[in-house]
Amino acid sequence: MTLELQLFLLVWGTLVGLDLVSVPQMMIARPIVAGPVAGAILGDLATGLQLGVLFELFQYDVMPMGASRYPEYGPATVAAVSTAHAAAGTLGLGLGALVGLVTGMLGGLSMYVVRRATQRAVQAVAGRLEAGDVRLLVRLHVTAIARDALRAAVVTAAGLALAHVVRLYFGGALPLRGVTLLGVAAVAGAIATATAGTLRVVGRGANLRWFAAGLAGGAVLVWLR
């Protein structure tokens, strides 16, 4: 993979990371968008779509409410696609999931660090904010957005570096059964996570019947295909 492509992925991952909370929340941070675009950058849309679907399922575990801490799956999906691109097929899925989940955890941790840093910056100028200093208010806000952009870039870079290491050392080292099992684990983990995450929101009321109806409809479609 050329340095140019890695840089494109870094820029895309940064935009994706910025979109999650800061600007503009138009959902390019969703894995179902971040993955296919990363795949398109690499000229491998199929892998991008596959990893996008996989991490979108993991995403259903997350309700991004208030001060709750959660993993960040956008840049994680970009790193996962970068891993899987070089190792096509089922091997790509398992190794991509591994890199993506670790990067997602790192992303969640980094958001906490950045929010604390912004908190300290706000506390440091609390008096001037109370005096209605507009320039300071806007500068504080813009600086915080820049801080989040830097965070997203660092997380994406770390994910891409991890992807590079995994491609180098694990790409050809696993036997066929191991490769298949890794892929199975990735998909099973994603399906279990999406099911549990959805059921937590659906609850035991009338919506559970709608969920069951959807499940049956989806299963029929699979059978028909």
């Binding site: 706000v122 399906i191 279990a192």
Partner: protein, 250 residues
Amino acid sequence: MTRTRRPPLGRSLLRLFTVQGSWNYERLQGIGVGVAEEPLLRDLRAAGNGAVYRAAVARGAHFFNAHPYLCGLAVGAAARAEHEGATPDQIERLRSALCGPLGSLGDRLVWAGWLPVTSGLALIGVALGLGMDAVLGFLVVYNVGHVALRWWALRAGWTHGVRVAVALHQPFLQRAAAWSGPAMALVIGAALPLSAAYLAGPFPAWARGVLLGAAAVGGAILLWWRGRLTGLRYGLALLAVAALAGWIWR
């Protein structure tokens, strides 16, 4: 009372797209809300009320937390109240009173409704072979709703001012909130088997059996240990077990 001829709602709306940019554990969305409200307060300064303007800006940046797409409602309402000469105490109470309802309404409408419905439809589209068209469709459809909701919230806030609670009882909001739960459940329910079949396509038959079992057990464990075990940790644990099993079973 200070009346604006044409409030710069567009400028405020643009700033609202960054409302969570300075999210922090001290004021949560407060700084972003203050930045978004500031253009609507400039008339106060133009009217020669520099001190009133600065005090209003400072109030706008106090603690606030709600759903980001509905923050505009509080921004518009608070700015209108400042123009209508409401007391600082009334404005602080208005902001506090809006946090809970805007948070829960937004979570139901968007995070647990519109977003999973549209992304679930994208998953179904990809699984059925629509590829990038499904992804682009998701982005367009989702954001039509997203931008419309932000714009409606800001306008409603500015229109109603301190009586903004009226806007929250709009029939379309009540209907949307009532439908979001069933729609989400139906779409995600349908997306699950289709996504599983799409991802498991290249696996041999034995592997699909293992997948089904691991997914069922995993779903039960995640529900049982809710709050203690996250999907991410379960996924990583499963990958570790798979790597170990693959290494032993050569």
